[in-house]
């Protein structure tokens, strides 16, 4: 950052101007498809199928962020370990998988894991969507480890001493002083990561998971009409936008609210 | 302060009945002013009386709602767009309270950027002139330094050199010593004193009363968006009947004295 006073000269384009325009585009796209009534009707017929696909995107994204957060929290703690033997492997994992393309990891987990696992003589199926979830959870865990490490390290040790001086116990300090600050620092990047993973779920279509993009391709191949192809892919774009944009805006608001100095 | 009589010199700046408001706040309520070629005119008065705004009207950084401003042959109040005001600004230098140097450019680059990029002066010629100006403000050894490495007084002298680089007809000084440490005020005032003695046309907004008295051809006292008194330094500082001016000058007097001692 520039170490100078900030003046906001250009009035920020608030959601009040952006949303109507975006809404306008979406509506225009829909209207355009209504000019071909047949195409709009076909789109309506395919909507439940597309919605099932999108539910898969949401399922994968939630599972991946949950798994990634759990593993990332542990990795972040390991990264802060005073023992090099514990710290080093965690650092290597984080470095490699933070730099790894999501698509490559999804391919990797899909091809490496078997399609079923044998547990105590039971054949448990191992569906592709779970493999894709793991493929997305791996880079997520690496990112979360970095977020956690950064947040903990950003709290000055002097605060522990100051709290102790005021009569706080160690657990009280953690509860009332340290954790609230960590959460403030962790929440915005965590939400950004969630948005990024949600968008990453579209990659699962390339390994045959029947999510929204895959469903759109199915629909477009089945219908075989140009106007419908245009409409169905625009629908995919709009649905993802409608899901991810509020998350992004909410994150921006959080960042602004937490940016108290 | 050239030898010729003041009344014989041509009028360079003329403001008539200038009114300006920022939103609901009336800042200027009818300013009349005349500056002749070679004049040094000082504007004094309490903060918030509109002194700096008068300067910004002259080079078109702000636009008054009413009244006329002419600089030479240019009717400033008739310039409608930013693009139309650019030729005017090339003729007028301004030095700001906070120096406002470009922090990413070296001292020399700060001075040559306007002649090279705007006037199309060749680089060798612009650099030659810049070095001449740096010698004049006694900063020849700092041409490769960056603004962040200089003291306030040094930065302000660079800013003066930058303003002079365009060979302006008029230079506006906007409280150029207000942000400086007392020790560095003297070096900046010394530079301005020399420029004025060499015949530079200038308008100065200042709190340095002694300095204003010493160098000015005319002093204006502003209060509440009006010029309440004007005259020669002697008449304004010593023979004024206005009690507000007395209390203003005496109120600043002690501070001005300690600063002057740094000269």
């Amino acid at each position: 950052m520039l170490n100078i006073l900030t003046f906001s000269r250009v009035p920020s384009l608030a959601s009040s101007t952006v949303l109507p325009v975006l809404g306008g585009i979406a509506v225009a796209g829909l209207l355009w498809s209504f000019f071909e009534p047949e195409s709009a009707a076909t789109l309506l017929v395919w909507t439940p199928y597309l919605a099932r696909g999108f539910a898969m995107n949401i399922l994968i994204s939630i599972c991946a962020i949950a798994l990634g957060s759990l593993v990332g929290l542990i990795l972040g703690a390991l990264e802060l370990s005073p023992r090099a033997l514990i710290r080093f492997p965690a650092l290597v994992y984080v470095q490699i998988f933070r730099n790894a393309p999501h698509l490559v990891l999804i391919f990797a987990t899909t091809y490496i894991f078997p399609f079923e696992i044998l547990v105590a003589g039971l054949r448990i199926p191992f569906p592709d969507w779970i493999k894709a979830t793991i493929g997305l959870a791996i880079p997520a865990s690496a990112h979360i480890a970095e977020i956690v490490r950064g947040a903990v390290q950003s709290i000055p040790t002097a605060q522990w001493e100051a709290a102790a001086g005021m009569g706080f116990s160690r657990s009280q300090t953690l509860r009332w002083i340290i954790l609230p600050q960590c959460i403030k620092r962790v929440l915005p990047p965590w939400m950004n990561l969630y948005a990024s993973i949600s968008m990453g779920t579209a990659l699962a279509s390339l390994v045959g998971v029947n999510e929204l993009l895959h469903a759109a391709t199915d629909a477009s191949t089945a219908v075989q009409r140009t106007d419908f192809t245009v409409a169905v892919y625009l629908t995919v774009l709009v649905w993802f936008f409608v899901y991810c944009y509020p998350v992004a805006r909410f994150t921006q608001n959080l960042e602004r609210r937490f940016a108290v100095r | 302060m050239t030898e010729s009589k003041r009344e014989e010199r041509a009028i360079l700046v003329k403001m008539e009945d200038v009114h300006l408001a920022f939103g609901q706040t009336q800042v200027l309520k009818g300013i009349d002013l005349e500056v002749r070629k070679g004049d040094a005119v000082s504007i004094i008065g309490p903060s918030g009386s509109g002194k700096s705004t008068i300067l910004r009207c002259i080079n078109g950084l702000v636009t008054p709602q009413r009244g006329s401003i002419t600089v030479g042959q240019t009717a400033v109040h008739e310039l409608k767009s930013e693009a139309e005001r650019i030729p005017l600004r090339k003729r007028i230098g301004i030095v700001f309270q906070q120096y406002n140097l470009f922090p990413h450019l070296s001292v020399l680059e700060n001075i040559v950027i306007a002649p090279v990029r705007i006037q199309g002066v060749g680089r060798p010629e612009a650099e030659r002139h810049a070095r001449e100006l740096l010698a004049r403000v006694r900063l020849s050894d700092k041409e490769h330094a960056y603004p962040g490495e200089l003291s306030g007084g040094q930065q302000q002298r660079v800013a003066i050199a930058r303003a002079l680089a365009m060979r302006p007809e008029l230079v506006l000084f906007d409280e150029v010593t207000s942000a400086l440490d007392p020790e560095t005020v003297g070096e900046v005032l010394a530079v301005i004193r020399e420029l004025v003695a060499d015949g530079l046309t200038s308008i100065l907004v200042t709190h340095e009363m002694r300095f204003a008295e010493e160098i000015s051809d005319e002093v204006l006292f502003t209060e509440g968006g009006r010029i309440v008194e004007r005259g020669s330094p002697a008449s304004l500082f010593h023979n004024s009947s206005n009690p507000r001016i007395h209390s203003f000058i005496n109120g600043l007097g002690s501070g001005a004295k300690t600063r002057e001692s740094a000269l």
Binding site: L22, V104 | P103
Partner: protein, 247 residues
């Protein structure tokens, strides 16, 4: 010579339990090396596209003119909040198809899959650059801008000589981070058969079942590329560092 070194490498790694046998087949080796070069070419071509696009978008966002800033804002929000792969599919399957139709057949369409990957990934990252640059431009103090106006700079000169140089220094860390993401995103090219390293690797491992081996190589490749980008960024940061300017 090369063959014997490769054979030695293959035998050695085999003793460690890895199957790098494809390296001894000239055909597969060529596919794979072409894939790596294609990845490098894609990254090298897309980076300048993203930087130019980001600069233009940032200029539009901060222009203060609605007819420029609103479309730029819509584009930035749209591209930042939708998956790159979906954008690529919309570009390749929809826009490209419409262009082909308008020109009377795919054989007359001058746009290749390579073009679409560069355009989509480049503009996607450009939107992120634009946000970083916009923040930098908006943090230039108004007093500095007033000085620039007083000198006689017009709007574009202020942008080019004052705002961009200052914003670039403030935004550089974010831009480098975006370029790391850009390198990773070029892998979506495999979805429309651009023969970059992921695509080449899929072709090989579907024949030989050596996913783990190729995966290790891909991960190392991207770690290396991103290390290079980060290093270059840090070098540039130092080079652009101005004494006394607190960034």
């Amino acid at each position: 010579m090369l063959d014997s070194i490769l054979a030695g490498f293959v035998t050695y790694t085999k003793s460690l339990g890895f199957n790098f046998g494809f390296l001894t087949s000239v055909y597969e080796r060529t596919i794979w090396i072409d894939g790596i070069s294609m990845t490098l070419i894609l990254i090298a071509v897309t980076i300048p596209v993203s930087l130019v696009g980001g600069g233009l978008l940032a200029a539009a966002l901060t222009s203060g003119r609605k007819y420029l800033s609103v479309p730029a804002r819509v584009f930035v929000e749209l591209t930042r909040n939708t998956p790159t792969l979906v954008q690529l599919m919309c570009a390749f399957l929809v826009v490209n198809m419409l262009i082909s139709k308008a020109l009377g057949g795919a054989q007359y369409n001058p746009f290749s899959p390579f073009f679409w990957v560069v355009a989509v990934v480049g503009l996607h990252i450009a939107a992120f650059h634009a946000e970083a640059l916009r923040a930098g431009i908006e943090s230039v103090p108004s007093a500095t801008l007033e000085a620039a106006r007083a000198i006689g700079f017009n709007r574009l000169q202020i942008l080019w000589f004052v705002e961009f140089p200052l914003a670039l220094r403030a935004a550089l860390p974010a831009i480098v981070n975006n370029l790391v993401n850009l390198a990773k995103l070029t892998t979506v090219g495999s979805a429309i058969a651009v023969g970059e390293v992921t695509y080449a690797s899929i072709m090989i491992w579907s024949q030989r079942d050596n996913v783990i081996e190729l995966m290790i190589v891909i991960l190392l490749l991207f770690s290396l590329i991103n290390l290079l980008i980060a290093r270059t960024g840090r070098w540039l940061e130092n080079k652009l560092k101005v004494p006394g300017l607190g960034i």
